[in-house]
């Protein structure tokens, strides 16, 4: 039998879904896109909280977040940016792409993914609504520091309920992704031949499934505490429990964002570098290592937020970022040996690399100068690594796969503008934390003297980041509404993985029965183009 290229470019385009389809369809593509849009909507909530805190910090008599409301906004910002925006966005992308990348016609549990989406949407709305109840929950302050007492009443109960639903939704989604990857791969696609994004989604999902329940247990304990009016978190022992269950910067699932980032950036680098990833299997091993090492954060000993960073924290930071640093070298090597094609996706991926380098340099600076966990340094460092880097990676991934998802290319000039806004914004908003605000108190919004100047720079940076995200959203909406150049099945003409065999956007059931070729490497579509093999 001869295996020849049979691109299905002439396949009829997928029918534009009716509004009702979005509520009833269990097609993994619909669910994935719904998760992406919903996560972007929650990103708007994040943006509102970030801008409000930025405005509050510029001084000039502006003081509308008084009486502890700044902490509420900080809590809203942290819980929405990670649990409502970034993690669901990457999982949504995975729900959409993984079955396509492994040559499956559906996900392993279509209805389960649909259930998880509605749970996420409902839970997220309840979390946001909790801030509209009784002026917002103080109880959510648990994420920022052990609360002296359960405060906030109904609003906090709502927040716990909503976050619990979101956590359950993310675990269920992760379980579905793991089952899909392990059982529905095309014949011949061993795990070491799986596309790198699929592999990262697999590893990231395992990390989420093992770490989110611990957060869930913390929420449960916090809920019991709130319901009983007790003082659960006051003892030293329970403050340790609080740290390992609810402290948001000390969680493996937040570090798991770097796993998804590694997969997305690797795909963009190979796609636009027009070169196979150097040392493919070791690269998969490095992504697996990042996933395994995320759990080292639980070995951290820091209890008091104002304590100096403990040696164990330094060790865990090095352990987690060492494989990521090696992967970064692989990306650079791949680009250097390939024929890179300039594009907004590649530039945005470069943005992730730049912010990663800033974060690594900042981490090294933390080893040289004395820094403590309770300062703006720690807060800014976290924002560089766990917000800026994933946001760039998500944007790059969206540019790369938008032609597949919506059948239209995103607007490239708008993408370059987005890059400029994001890179300028993130550098302005986070570099002050390494310099002028290094010793400022974490989550502070009132500054004086030199610190005020740096705080204003950071606020301007925050607004620039929001501008970048708005440009991103406008671009995506345009593609979804049918604007932009029409994309063929192999939109970038160098597609290497199976999703580029399916029409853009893919029809229900993704592929025809005989469309998937035997898988003999990690780039089966590229093999079809370059090889004719008799079997």
């Amino acid at each position: 039998m001869s295996v020849v290229e049979t691109r299905p470019d002439d396949a009829p385009p997928a029918r534009r879904p009716a509004a009702a389809d979005w509520f009833t369809s269990a097609d993994h593509k619909r669910v994935g896109v719904a998760m992406l849009w919903t996560s972007l909507a929650f990103a708007a909530v994040t943006a509102v909280a970030a801008v409000a805190l930025g405005i509050e910090s510029v001084g000039k008599g502006i003081d509308f977040l008084d009486g502890g409301r700044d902490l509420q906004y900080q809590t809203l910002l942290l819980s929405s940016v990670f649990y409502l925006f970034l993690l669901p966005a990457f999982l949504g992308l995975a729900v959409y792409l993984v079955p396509l990348q492994i040559g499956a016609r559906r996900s392993a549990f279509p209805r389960l993914h649909q259930f998880a989406y509605w749970l996420y949407l409902g839970g997220g709305v309840v979390v946001v609504a909790s801030y509209l109840t009784s002026g917002g929950p103080y109880g959510a302050q648990a994420l920022l520091g052990p609360p002296a007492a359960a405060q906030g009443g109904q609003a906090s109960a709502l927040w716990i309920l909503g976050m619990g639903a979101v956590v359950l939704a993310l675990v269920v989604t992760a379980a579905g992704i793991v089952a899909t990857v392990t059982t529905l791969r095309a014949p011949g696609m061993t795990l070491d031949r799986a596309p790198v994004f699929t592999w990262s989604a697999f590893v990231g999902s395992i990390v989420l499934a093992l770490s989110l329940p611990v957060f869930g247990a913390g929420l449960l304990l916090h809920g019991v505490n709130l319901a009983s009016g007790g003082d659960l978190w006051t003892s030293n022992a329970m403050q340790n429990v609080w740290q390992h269950t609810l402290s948001i910067w000390m969680r493996p699932e937040i570090l798991a964002l770097l796993v998804f980032t590694a997969g997305a950036v690797s795909e963009v680098v190979t796609g636009f570098g027009r070169k196979r990833l150097l040392a493919y299997v070791p690269a998969l091993g490095l992504i697996g290592a990042i996933g395994a090492l995320t759990f080292v954060v639980w070995a951290s000993e820091k209890v008091r937020p104002d304590a100096p960073l403990a040696p164990t924290q330094t060790v865990q930071a090095v352990l987690v970022f060492a494989p990521l640093g090696l992967l970064l070298l692989m990306w650079l090597g791949t680009l250097a040996s390939g024929r890179p094609r300039p594009s907004a996706a590649l530039v945005l991926a470069a943005g992730a690399v730049v912010m990663l380098a800033v974060g690594l340099a900042g981490g090294v600076s933390g080893l040289i100068v004395d820094v403590t966990g309770g300062t703006a340094w720690a807060q800014g460092h976290g924002e560089v690594l766990y917000v800026a880097v994933p946001v760039f990676a998500l944007s790059a991934a969206a540019f790369y796969w938008a032609p597949k998802i919506w059948g239209r290319f995103l607007n490239e000039p708008l993408g370059y503008l987005q890059f400029l806004a994001l890179i300028g914004g993130f550098l302005l908003s986070t570099v002050p934390a390494y310099t002028g605000l290094r010793d400022a108190k974490r989550y502070a919004v009132d500054f004086t003297g030199d610190e005020l100047t740096f705080a204003r720079l950071a606020a301007a940076g925050t607004i620039l980041v929001v501008v970048g995200l708005v440009l991103f959203a406008v671009n995506l909406v345009g593609a979804a509404m049918g604007r932009g150049k029409v994309a063929a099945a192999d939109a970038w003409e160098d597609g290497a993985t199976l999703e580029w065999l399916a029409p853009s956007p893919p029809p229900p059931w993704n592929f025809t029965d005989d469309q998937i070729p035997p898988i003999r490497s990690e780039q089966p579509v590229a093999d079809l183009r370059t090889t004719e093999v008799s079997a």
């Binding site: 392993a108 899909t180 304990l221 009983s228 007790g230 329970m238 269950t245 008799s534 079997a535």
Partner: protein, 214 residues
């Protein structure tokens, strides 16, 4: 039709023959080996997630207990060892019945599958109800002490998960009566059995921590 426990994909094509001049030789297509079906895999992930949930709650209990020293248990608290032991043994019996159901399904023995599943459902329900009764019949308020808060958190979570498992086991009876199980088609049965084994292990740890070590 119920899902199958084995791979349903067509067999992989044979390895590539030697390629002609000017072509790149690719490695052979790897044979498709799928030992577990999607339900089994998803169950493995969910069971791992539950393990972390219960482990966290148990760790909170043990850490608080060791830090509290004397006065950890509120005065006049009377938690009967026999009740905890009864729940633990009933859980063990439930897991064994559920495993019997899996074994019968593997042998394509419909009658034994249904009987074993029914026993597992009834025993699981009994253990769940007894755990609920034990939780609420201690006569102390939720917020009266650290001990009581953790008591309700640990047992409440256990009761909730056990109740869901009983419901899942009941569904497997319906599927069994509908004739869905065979020697190659018993994933849901296996999934529920794994879940019962996890809950049995969890309650054994609870029994040791709460009733024996106190």
């Amino acid at each position: 039709m119920a899902s199958t426990a084995v791979a349903t994909r067509p067999a992989a094509p044979p390895p590539a023959a030697k390629a002609g001049a000017g072509t790149r030789t690719l490695p052979a297509v790897a044979p498709q080996v799928q030992k577990w079906g999607p339900i089994t895999m998803a169950t493995a992930v969910v069971v791992a997630a539950e393990t972390l949930l219960f482990a966290t709650l148990t760790a909170a209990w043990l850490m608080s207990r060791s830090a509290a020293g004397t006065g950890w248990i509120p005065k006049d608290t009377d938690i009967d060892l026999y009740r905890g032991s009864t729940i633990a043994l009933t859980m063990l019996l439930t897991a064994l019945m559920s495993q019997w159901a899996v074994s019968a399904a593997r042998r394509d023995d419909g009658a034994n599958t249904i009987v074993a599943t029914a026993f597992a459902t009834l025993l699981g329900a009994a253990a769940t109800v007894l755990a609920w009764f034990t939780m609420v019949s201690v006569h102390f308020g939720v917020g009266s002490s650290l001990y009581t808060m953790l008591w309700y958190a640990l047992l409440g979570t256990f009761v909730a998960v056990a109740a869901l498992t009983v419901a899942a086991q009941a569904v497997t009876i319906a599927w069994g009566l509908a004739g869905h199980y065979s020697d190659t088609d018993h994933q849901p049965m296996t999934a529920v059995a794994v879940q019962w084994w996890l809950l049995t292990l969890v309650f054994a740890v609870y029994w040791l921590a709460i009733w024996v070590l106190q």
